[in-house]
Symmetry: D2
């Protein structure tokens, strides 16, 4: 299904070249301040049109359809749409005949019997990530209202194997190609105890969400794949005091599927589509 | 929650040193042959006591409590228990005072207010993976009955950085330590079209399940973290014919969150606890 | 949550006097014909403005935002909005001060801390049932495509205690009051075997859905409350042949929580709000 | 599925004449006192063998398999089994040939292809309600620990149309028949605000649960079916003060799908099987 989350639940909808893409958020507490301009900063960060990105330009103005009244959330479902204005639907019959490698064109056609909206990837398009960004903005506002002093950060560690990001990007531009990279997500200020043993481990829930982002190819926590070469005695983070303070953080903030109060560290590899 | 899956749903239960560990499977079709001896082979593979593993020995005989009648599934929930016979509950008060690094002792105590069954990791124990194995045995029988000709395989690629596995294992034995490694899971024979765009992408669902296994630190699909260094044009698997046949399989059998008929390739790093 | 259903899942959204009300349908198969005019007939049936109903008039034109391409469902989420054009937001401050009896004004204010959209009942408004009607239209189209030859029918049995419905309605008009009644829902053509033992019994699932309609006060299946006065031997429907044919249908088409191939009979009492 | 509830989730399992019936409870907070003897009182109330009930006798001793340590819940899943000791499996081949009217024998056979455990109703048996009782005992203990001063009560209002219950019961005994009746469930002390608008209305959630009990044929809230004969002005409960106090309670404690602080009143009709 196109829904994620049990208490704060998000449902994604829309197609790249249809009327709109959007998100419905259920379970958001009432009384959270939400205005259209609150989305601007994060939406700008993902916006196509910057150096090395797709030239498609959209205004990406959030249209808040429901769940907000007098600029506060009401407790009922929040619906946010982003209209698709800049859609050029030409040449798509050609695309049908020759499905693009690395894209969902072929599998979508098989899965949906040829009824899928094939224009620009349709429901599979990276265009829908604008709706994920909107959901993230609301989520951060909820955390802020709850006085959770979290610091959530995502940094590109390398592009095309280069830690000098300009250089990596230029490689792709020179080759008129797309390119891969590694993003590292860090969260500090998490309480001890999030996650459940086994099926709702913190790693399970986070990886489930992260792999819904098109282009992600791998995820690890803490030392991740490096742990494969380590002895347990070297990897284990010694607990120093009753608050669980550790000197090292090889586990990346999650032990036994549960957050341990350390910084959550979660690198992800990605490959942009061309 | 301790439940995974929407149609074939598994719920895990039990503690390392309590009465039993087990699994409840809901949604299994009726008429699938299940007998206690069907579990033997896979249970033997995970059994402690082999070279380099924990010395704890359990008979690990599945006790089928419900859902099976005349050696066939009935369509109602299947409950399988494994009694804990070989439990030595001594010395656990000491463990409470000094939570083991790399284990869930500390976070469990914080999360459950000190009421957790702390003996041997309790509900967090690797002992519970015997229940996962049992669920896997039933799942494979369902696929077999449905005439899905799947080949599911999991191989250890390296241990402690050594592709010579004996050598890697010996390093750990010599050091009286635990050690990490990489397991690669491969599935061939999957139909085209499994997975949903976005939140139930095949990668999302698989990583959710895999990270419920204690010790897993990272997961990737296809080229995974190597994709971070690649150009899109090199990574994309060219589609050769109308059946979606590709020469390369960099994507590891999943495109746009949907299986494409290629072999699913999914390496996972792990670190065993000591 | 505002979502119902596991395979064909509907999420309701919107407020009476906000921008729109609507529904998101996830899990609808691809290739089902859907056009705006398909909704007209059923929407007309619930439309306010008819004799004895609220004078509010809305065009109630469905705006299909996503999930439909070339008049066929694509397999991705279907979003249908109904804009609120005819909203008069005046006098609502007065309503806040004096919550209307028989309405959700008071409980909504307590539940959502005063942040609820209180205009005309907001998210609690009967206005949202237009979205339920739209979901029903899509559901019927899915059944039709699957060649399920179902006959689904809902009849008003009595209004204000009168089986002469004109008479009952006139009583309410004369009194300038609202009034109760009984609707009987019947479905013929159901296959044997729908529903699950215990928590997803057919009665459980149907009553869950029916009580989401504001105004419903009671539901029964088959003889329902009359069964309270019956002997088992008189109530039990004798099975005549191997196809499960019965002469009587006291159970209303459901035995042990499972449909038995007889006509489903499900009377519901309701009371309209004033 | 055989699971109910999102935060406090119960999964039912077992068959009448198999090894055991039982319940798995997930989401129960840690630190709740649970001992085998806590179940005695409520289990005695449902026990067969009393006047006018089935002569089958079971010890009905709860076997707590997991989730309880030192007589307190641990926060991990609680598994409670009731062994079936008093099972006579004879004569069941005859039953297969002639499915009992009013029982699930026929539909179970159709639904599960003849693989169902047909002995004594199998998974459909009223025997499984002992597991529901056990879940109720744990739920009441959670409420008690949370200092919810709830009074939960279920009374038989009439049997076989007689409010003199002895008389109604005697009618059934004289006829060697089973008989119907009405149970009224009342809960006082509920907070204002439980339930969600639309699909998770308090009525939806309660009726979903209640109809999982075999034998229930109808449910109503407050005035229920009587509301069908009432004017809205007579039915609406006037709100007297800012705490939502009302003089009448026609709505039975639920307005707009949300509890309003009044006593919850929920009559249910039932018919016992013979």
């Amino acid at each position: 299904m196109n829904t994620l989350g049990r208490l704060f639940s998000v449902s994604i909808l829309g197609e790249s070249h249809g009327h709109a893409v959007g998100i419905v958020i259920d379970g958001c507490p009432s009384g959270v301040s939400i205005a259209a301009e609150d989305f601007t900063e994060d939406i700008e960060r993902r916006k196509p049109g910057a150096k090395g990105t797709t030239p498609r330009k959209e205004d990406d103005l959030p249209e808040i359809i429901s769940g907000v009244f007098n600029d506060k959330t009401t407790g009922s479902p929040i619906t946010i749409l982003f209209r698709n204005n800049n859609t050029r639907s030409t040449d798509y019959e050609k695309q049908r005949a020759v499905p693009r490698p690395g894209h969902a064109d072929f599998v979508a056609s098989k899965k949906f019997g040829g009824y899928e909206d094939y224009r620009g990837g349709g429901h599979f398009s990276g265009r829908l990530t604008v709706a994920l960004v909107a959901a993230g903005v609301v989520a951060k506002k909820v955390l802020h209202k709850k006085k959770r002093d979290l610091k959530i950060q995502a940094d590109i560690l390398e592009i095309g194997g280069e830690s000098d990001l300009e250089k990596g990007l230029q490689k792709a531009i020179d080759e008129k190609d797309t390119i891969g990279g590694i993003v590292e997500c860090k969260v500090s200020g998490l309480p001890i105890g999030l996650g459940e043993p086994f099926f709702d481990s913190a790693e399970s829930l986070l990886s489930h969400a992260v792999f819904s982002i098109p282009a992600v190819r791998g995820i690890e926590f803490g030392t991740g794949f490096l742990a494969a070469k380590m002895f347990g005695s070297k990897h284990n983070d010694a607990i120093e005091n009753m608050e669980g303070k550790t000197t090292t953080n090889h586990s990346g903030g999650i032990i036994g599927g549960i957050t341990n109060g350390n910084e959550l560290i979660c690198p992800q590899s990605f490959l942009l589509l061309n």
